[in-house]
């Protein structure tokens, strides 16, 4: 499901859930690009465990990237004005996670939609949550 204008958005709608690529290859690539690589915590399960972690992690801001990617697919004309993510618990690499969002407010006058965001693991435990404000064009 995608929306093109603010008129397409329905209060309470859930954006189609998405399972992002949390593979070590993806986390390594991300960590290299943002300058987080080297310690192994995002690149190698063994090195991460040696640091007391349960395994290699998905960088927190990569979770933000998962959420913005999902919003951009849902609203191809949308502009994210604000996104806030709370890192509640580690997101483990090589584990399936589900990214979801729900419409919690619609401001038709200003063309803005507020979304509640979550990233959950296989046990349906929330690892990351947050909100986003997205600007959408008015219906023509």
């Amino acid at each position: 499901m995608t929306v093109q204008t603010i008129a397409d958005v329905v209060f309470g709608d859930e954006i189609t859930p998405w399972q992002p690529d949390t593979s070590l290859q993806a986390t390594r690539s991300f960590a290299e690009a943002v300058g987080y690589s080297g310690s192994g915590r995002f690149e190698d399960h063994g090195k991460a465990r040696a640091q007391g972690l349960p395994g290699a992690l998905v960088p927190g801001i990569m979770g933000m990237g998962f959420l913005t990617s999902m919003i951009h697919r849902w609203a191809p004309q949308g502009k994210i004005k604000f996104i806030d993510t709370v890192f509640r618990a580690p997101v483990l690499a090589d584990h399936d996670h589900t990214v979801t969002a729900v419409v919690t407010d619609i401001d038709e006058e200003n063309g803005e939609v507020v979304l509640d965001l979550t990233i959950q693991n296989e046990q349906e435990e929330t690892r990351v949550f947050g909100t986003a404000t997205v600007h959408l064009p008015a219906a023509s």
């Binding site: 998405w18 992002p20 690529d21 993806a26 986390t27 690539s29 991300f30 290299e32 690009a33 943002v34 300058g35 987080y36 927190g60 801001i61 990569m62 933000m64 990237g65 998962f66 913005t68 990617s69 999902m70 951009h72 697919r73 191809p76 502009k79 994210i80 004005k81 604000f82 996104i83 806030d84 993510t85 709370v86 890192f87 947050g130």
Partner: protein
């Protein structure tokens, strides 16, 4: 126990760091693609509307994490979250200046003790002084019981 009101009165809203950045287009596109981004304005560096993605803005780090005279709170520090407010598109390759201040200090108490939250806010400006974006970094410190 750390006096939160005292910290707030001494440190909030005072710029403690100013750092220059230039975002690399290829690096931003790589970050966007690794996050599953599909829109060309974030993944294709030849797109005329190409702009830096939110995670790369959130990755920009100030030279100092806290003011130079900020007291040591002890305990374990964790990355509690990030926020990005996009005011205007941030184009890779341009000179940016990040001005950082402590935006908020607050505490929450739970069964395992008190957690102190420090929110550092970086405002990003271009060479003309235009405000392009704001990023918040939320640092969480689990206070030691004896503090």
């Amino acid at each position: 126990m750390t006096d939160i009101d005292d910290l707030r009165s001494k440190f909030l809203d005072l710029e403690f760091d100013r750092t220059g950045f230039v975002i690399d287009a290829e690096q931003s596109a790589k970050v966007a693609k690794a996050s599953g981004e599909t829109r060309a304005e974030f993944t294709d560096t030849t797109d005329p509307n190409f702009e830096a993605c939110a995670p790369i803005l959130a990755s920009l780090a100030s030279g100092r994490r806290l003011p130079i005279d900020f007291p040591t709170l002890g305990g374990i520090s964790m990355d509690g979250g990030k926020a990005v407010a996009c005011i205007k598109p941030v184009r890779p390759g341009i000179k940016l200046t990040g001005k950082t201040h402590l935006h908020d200090i607050y505490a929450k108490s739970g069964r395992s003790g008190r957690m102190i939250f420090l929110v550092s806010r970086m405002q990003l400006y271009d060479d003309c002084g235009e405000h392009l974006a704001t990023t918040d970094s939320r640092q969480v410190i689990r206070e030691r019981p004896d503090k």
